[in-house]
Assembly symmetry: C2
Homo-oligomer: 565 residues x 2
Amino acid sequence: MKNKHKVVVIGGVACGPKAAARIKRLNPEADVTILEKGELISYAGCGLPFYLSGEVENHDELMATPTGVVRNPGFFKMVKDVKVKNKTLVKSVDRDNKIVHAVNTDTNESLEFSYDSLVLAVGSNYFVPPIEGVDLKGVNFLQTVEDAMKIKDRSGPLNAKKIVIIGAGLIGLEAAEGLKKQGMEITIIERLDTAMEVLLDPEIAYHLHKELAANDIMLKVGETVLKINDDGSGNVKSVTTNTGEFSADMVLVAVGVRPNIKLAKDMGLEIGKFGAIKVNKNMQTSDPDIYAGGDCVENNNLITGQPSYVPMGSTANKHGRVIADNICGFASEFKGVLGTAICKVFNFNVSRTGLTEKAAKDGGYDYLTVLTPSPDKPHFMKDAKLIIIKFIVDRKTKKLLGAQVAGPGDVAKRIEVAVANIASGSLVTDIAHYDLAYAPPFSPAMDNIITAANIAENKLNGLCNSYTPIEVKEKIEKGDDFIFLDVRAPQEYEQMRIEDPRVKLIPLGKLRSSLDELPKDKEIIPFCKISLRGYEAERILVGEGYSKVKFMDGGIVCWPYKKIA
Amino acid sequence: MKNKHKVVVIGGVACGPKAAARIKRLNPEADVTILEKGELISYAGCGLPFYLSGEVENHDELMATPTGVVRNPGFFKMVKDVKVKNKTLVKSVDRDNKIVHAVNTDTNESLEFSYDSLVLAVGSNYFVPPIEGVDLKGVNFLQTVEDAMKIKDRSGPLNAKKIVIIGAGLIGLEAAEGLKKQGMEITIIERLDTAMEVLLDPEIAYHLHKELAANDIMLKVGETVLKINDDGSGNVKSVTTNTGEFSADMVLVAVGVRPNIKLAKDMGLEIGKFGAIKVNKNMQTSDPDIYAGGDCVENNNLITGQPSYVPMGSTANKHGRVIADNICGFASEFKGVLGTAICKVFNFNVSRTGLTEKAAKDGGYDYLTVLTPSPDKPHFMKDAKLIIIKFIVDRKTKKLLGAQVAGPGDVAKRIEVAVANIASGSLVTDIAHYDLAYAPPFSPAMDNIITAANIAENKLNGLCNSYTPIEVKEKIEKGDDFIFLDVRAPQEYEQMRIEDPRVKLIPLGKLRSSLDELPKDKEIIPFCKISLRGYEAERILVGEGYSKVKFMDGGIVCWPYKKIA
């Protein structure tokens, strides 16, 4: 298609430039203008924590193409034939006459832009919690390049040494690593019970906590910030929580973002129930000539079929493409999100997609879980590292509701397989048939995720029975009587064990000859390091006529409570 | 289920032990015996090259569980209640009376084993090419632990320094790296035109050749070994090919394996058209009481629907599970293979699944290809590394026929996504919608494979047009007249360029203002480093009314021919 269609894009970070560039590729005669309120455009917001760490030395790199050309307005004009007006703040939109009213923030000049199609890619704003002292000097947020530069100035030239980070979500954790590498002393205060609580179940979050502790990051969970304290000169001095006071010469508030919907509301566009702009599958708002994408819109959750708010740079890019297609007359749909996320925290990688167990329970699903820790390569490869896979499986549909993969090893590969499996509408058991790529530098002969799928199949077919570590802990706390059967070798037991009077050690190799030590009328819960042998023990005992046996999923590796070492 | 079903498993390496162990888990009263002709059982054959390199120090590690317990007959008896008879060579099977006749290779004692179900997991044998001198001392193969020990003895205590490897397939390449790390001087002779020719297309293999050269491995392709020469005392001295003589004090013959079908043939079982044992989806041979799995059977190719012979440790394990299920009365099917493979060669990773372009062409498919090289992470991450994705897409079904992912970066993750996509029967364009896991340490905001899927979609919809580098080279060789338009920056051109009178440099940023240099009646083939700008240039020129424009896929990075640097 070729015509002089006029497109105005409001927002110049991710979705906006993507949509603009593709519109010009599809319709070279289109007249496309991007309006951006800030100075900088088309930058990689997700790279900001790596700018803090020094991994990215110059913030220009965040705005450059892979060959190093900075994507500034000149670049967009020359290469893309897209006009970019930065420092241009949109004040209102006249939908009847299809005119955008804006102002140049440098000159205060009033500007008008008429459009045939309008794209709202206005992003999100960080949430400013209503805490006393949140406006003190040294209290920072992290969303724009300018924000990151402020933090760097304070930690560098201004010599801040102690930082309190409020919020242990993705941004808080990535920033913690970045600032730790700058030599700062770091405390993270999290209101919920674990880091990344909304994204992870406790068995996984527990390992993340261990990694933070191992890297001298103090994480306080279940703790509420009451006040940020002034040093008397308008600078931050400390943070007061419900349990104490933490001194700080810098605070980073990272408690999430909220969609930027002011303009959309003013324009009378429909807002969804999660408070973001409502769009259809073509990314059209309630005004069919106005599209919206990126952090300002709601997305369909592919598991629940419900709207959700999951802002993500990868999603924003997909939105941009769909918007461009539809504006140029190519029918195109954005299907939805799974809430996939991944994060590197020092030497620990954590990834997730779909629903957590908590969310599955709250959603009323009849589900089972699989928890399988094992090396990401054959154990004989020196660089083999642990990864833990957790599956949440819908018993009715036999489909994955969600997956979490975490550990020092290669988690990214496995979470992508789970994502592709869910997105395809396949069964969890289909994973076991995938002809995945096997060679020792990359994976075990039975890839970890194939093992997880096989365990899911066993459970769906009633061929093995297990408790989660959390369920076992609950049984202990209720005072249930059972034999907590550790089937590891004595030397493994010496190195690390669970201390409880119910624990009994019978190495797997001796189990068949030690049955007289195990009464048939008592419940038995076998486990080992990762519960491969625990499962084997369950099978042996069931085979010997024991009827009350369930192994503990994930073994002692996934026991998120106290261990004796 | 519980009954005294008698199962005899012939073969104790991968599929056999897997089937045996699961049978006991499903039916604890089953009477299961493994017969293995060698001494060692349940070892990781795929780990042998890493034993050569020294990565695996002790060959026992190849037979150990992740906690270090060696899987010997005692282990199988104690833990799995499976009887293992090693050094037990099966001579014949009496199908009418269901009796296996064997002999102990140490004592020559004759043995008989009756069965209700029989499992053939007899593996493959390396192919011994009919070359004079192949039986000389110092000519080795690599399939068993014993083979690997022989090679290590020769390279270590016997001080072999120069090795000729015949065959540049997976085993030959992995062994080359392993032996190079031992300080050996290595020449690889390959009969076909590239390394891994059956598995890769030339644009990908070309990069593999470069990596071998960079690591001082001499690779001779398109070269036939005529003779292995004797030093006069029965030891190898050199290898003569059609072009010359290569001195060697050791030779490794790695020209593939053949299914071990002697026993099956003697028993009168049906053999498939690829010369391996024919099995149905339940892994049953033509005798319903006899199952077969692992390297001795044919597999259904999921793309072509035809039988194929693709021996792989990962597949053998899957077979073992399916066999156990069916023997124990749980209906279970093995669906088939994609011929997925992955290999690390020094700092280059190469992976593939499905059909190559060559195979697609030979198969008569109407296909298109995508070739997209780019960093595996945002370019601002210091450890971002190149990966190249090649897609072969069926124009009719819009499904992937095959994919190749190669480069120093993270290729494994992307090939798994392709595998899951194909296995699910999804469209290639569905990949573009996958909510893959994004964070800068793991991938760009638009993952490389999403970009590849988007390009495939553009091509399927006629929204961009390209030549492959191979097609462009063919046009040059035919003497076609066209403008080979390099749209990179002058400094990139200085660093590396294609030398041909057709090449013309107009940086992308100047293209819109340089149209008078480009006649409209001449064919124009734009390209850049990776052809993202090449594609952009195509769009600009098409927009300006040029009708004969196709960019070159993959850019100069994927140009597998001579470059000036």
